[in-house]
Subunit: 213 residues, 2 copies
Amino acid sequence: MARLKRLVLERLMRYYRYIVSVPEMRGAKTVTSAQIAGALDIDPTQVRKDFGAIGLLGMGRVGFGVCEVCTAIRRVLGFDERLEAVVVGAGHLGGALVAYERFTQYGLHIVAAFDSDKRKAGRRVGGLLVQPTRALTPYVRRHKIRLAILTTPPEVAQKVADRLVAAGVTAIWNFAPTRLTVPSEVMVRNEQIALGLSEISYHLAEQAREKQG
Amino acid sequence: MARLKRLVLERLMRYYRYIVSVPEMRGAKTVTSAQIAGALDIDPTQVRKDFGAIGLLGMGRVGFGVCEVCTAIRRVLGFDERLEAVVVGAGHLGGALVAYERFTQYGLHIVAAFDSDKRKAGRRVGGLLVQPTRALTPYVRRHKIRLAILTTPPEVAQKVADRLVAAGVTAIWNFAPTRLTVPSEVMVRNEQIALGLSEISYHLAEQAREKQG
DNA sequence: TAGATTGTTAATCGATTAACAATC
DNA sequence: TAGATTGTTAATCGATTAACAATC
């Protein structure tokens, strides 16, 4: 099976969420590409192509088996495997991620939180005791942690990333607004929340300009 | 000037951040498209095109004036205008956004927070007193709020959105994992953080599969 | 069977990159 | 002037959509 691209993966996630959580899906045995596409504002052909890419075959006149779809997506995206992650940077955002229970639906478990701030270390964040940064490397090594969630200030993000990589992490979910330099075998997913502001701010500014003249 | 697309706006945001915050930019009078492109891993032609789209003209052999670039981006994206927003849903994520001070750099000021949970209403979140949801509509009306940041659970997101629209909001920054149905003149930006997990989880699952067989 | 839905190939669309003359 | 950098047109690349025979 060819390596799936980012856009495909994100759509698979959306299909999965639709199928497992939308009320009209409750109890349904089958689902058509048109149903999913309509709900998610996607082209039905796209849905069938994505399903085809992960080996899902539909049935003419009926659609796809709900169970098969769920199972296939879970398997491909790895939701059945327990995935343990550490959070580095126990500020507001880090705390929000630790507290977000829905991640466990996808197999993700945040098992430790770290912060360099001595006032934060020792405090509790969403059920986790925040540890000082010097405990990071040994923890990652001992527990064979593969994923780190980075929510530090941008100034220290690269330094932390270097330590994480040295400790053996192979994926970083980066919420700091900086590009990270890492070896090619380490995967970085950048989550730049502030980028959304560009679209919103522009839209509102345009609106104001149109109103004026 | 033609309406700018989402990808262009996001790149403009990244150019802006690079220019105002990266150390090697300190004191520089000019910057070339190659410099920016190199730092952000973008094609230099793209940078020049984007600059051209907002009316920026470079100088042969020299590049672009740092000041001009900043000013132009700020003006186009509307960062010079004060933009007031309310947060609805004062949970961990809502709190994190309220506490995020860097937004003011872009003209965004979160001026009020609301939550339907009676235990949360009355508490402080990042300097703001959380108000009960019944205060939402009057507040938005009175202060002519145009932007709402939605961080409620997905189940109530649509209902809240309806109220916000009725109260006069024209843009919604939606962090709830649901598609919202709103009138066409209202802009919705979806920030689906969990989508990133699909890419990470897949990558790590693939890695494990490769190792096994 | 008739008809809705699939899987797949071809056509379209848009975004990115390459090429290069014009410029300072 | 020589050479680095721009602005713009053309070529490429990839993703999305349309068309339609095959299927149950």
